[in-house]
């Protein structure tokens, strides 16, 4: 009888442990940053930075003339995509310390697309934003063509994550309906550049 109780106790504990492990959130989930949602054209304040997304477009090719001048014999590389480009134009003002948006991503129905590294210097994803100084530029994402028309694309999230993803911090996010955006032939990309130092202490 004693042995049976012991066996049942051990089996019960193992079962409870298994359920706990199977249902426990991952370490990444436990310390994931909080998303602060906002709209296009309005300031979105997170602890790290204030973001204003001025425009979101979809195109088959990128105009990178900010970095290549044909008059000086610098032909721009071919950026025609087999899919599409999502081009996001924004202003960023860091709040307390220099940051970047090296891990910015588009999330569609649980699928995450990282910012493309196709942009030549000075590009926004690798640009360091200094506190109190507003920087303007573009971030681009290359997606499969059908992704912007897929279920869930009407609630796509643009998440502006720094290269060092902050644990339990706030991160600016904009929800966009990609399904309603027209697919243009070419979208002009703006290189990253500081535009204003009058943003004040709170960005």
């Amino acid at each position: 009888m004693n042995r049976l109780v012991r066996v049942l106790t051990v089996a019960g504990l193992l079962a409870v442990g298994g359920v706990a492990i199977a249902t426990a959130p991952s370490d990444d989930t436990i310390v994931a940053p909080f998303l602060v949602r906002g709209e296009i054209g309005k300031p979105i304040g997170s602890r790290l930075a204030t973001v204003v997304v001025s425009d979101v477009g979809v195109a088959r090719e990128l105009d990178l003339s900010y970095a290549y001048d044909p008059d000086f014999g610098e032909p721009a590389p071919d950026t025609a995509s087999a899919g599409v480009w999502i081009v996001v134009s924004l202003d960023v003002t860091a709040t307390y310390t220099s940051i970047d948006f090296g891990n910015a991503e588009v999330r569609i129905a649980g699928v995450r697309y990282r910012a493309s590294t196709v942009l030549p210097d000075p590009d926004l994803p690798t640009f360091a934003f200094d506190p109190g100084v507003t920087v303007r530029g573009s971030i681009v994402f290359e997606l499969p063509a059908d992704a912007v028309r897929s279920a869930g694309a009407e609630n796509a999230d643009l998440v502006f994550l720094p290269r060092l993803v902050p644990a339990l911090d706030t991160v600016a996010t904009v929800r966009v309906d990609l399904r309603t955006l027209p697919v243009d032939d070419v979208a002009v990309v703006e290189g990253a550049h500081a535009v204003d130092g009058r943003a004040g202490r709170d960005g």
Binding site: T95, Y96, T97, S98, P122, A128, D130, P131, G132, V133, T134, H193, A194, V195, D196, G197, R198, A199, G200, R201, D202
Partner: protein, 183 residues
Amino acid sequence: MTRRREWLRRNAAALATVAVLLPATAFVLLGLPAIEVADSVENPRLVSAGETVNDQGYDYTLTGSTETVGRGVEANRIPLGASLVVARFSVEPDGTEPAELCDVVLTDRSDPSTSERTWRPQISPGTYGYVADLGTRNFCNPARDEPQTLELVFLTPAGTYSTATVDFSIRGESSTLLRFALR
């Protein structure tokens, strides 16, 4: 039951040693360095402009600093409302064991109601029309056992220069924070 007691009695000294040594080791390896870093942040060494301070293998001297106020990207490539702050340092080895790590930022704590703000040196100051002297560095590197001239360029909101300091966080035998007043 008796066997268990017997085992505990025979190994009591060893168990007690482990019980003391484990937390003591953790304290020495993790706790003490953390306390030292926290102490260096709370008690930085304040250094006036022109004064030389010695720390962990190097003599540090702020040899000069300037502020260039932005007149707009078209006028001087610095945005309106921003300033380009340049701080020059002489860093000379003193022949002793150098530190292992060094990090440098511009810091402003002028508003006590909010957290301090920090700026990292510009990697490409030429973006804002500034040409650094040949042979200068825009970061501190304690691993190089040779005299160094640092030319640190920061893009800040206008007005930051008058209250900001340049902070060197140095880690080696100990952790120290050298805080240089720009003016």
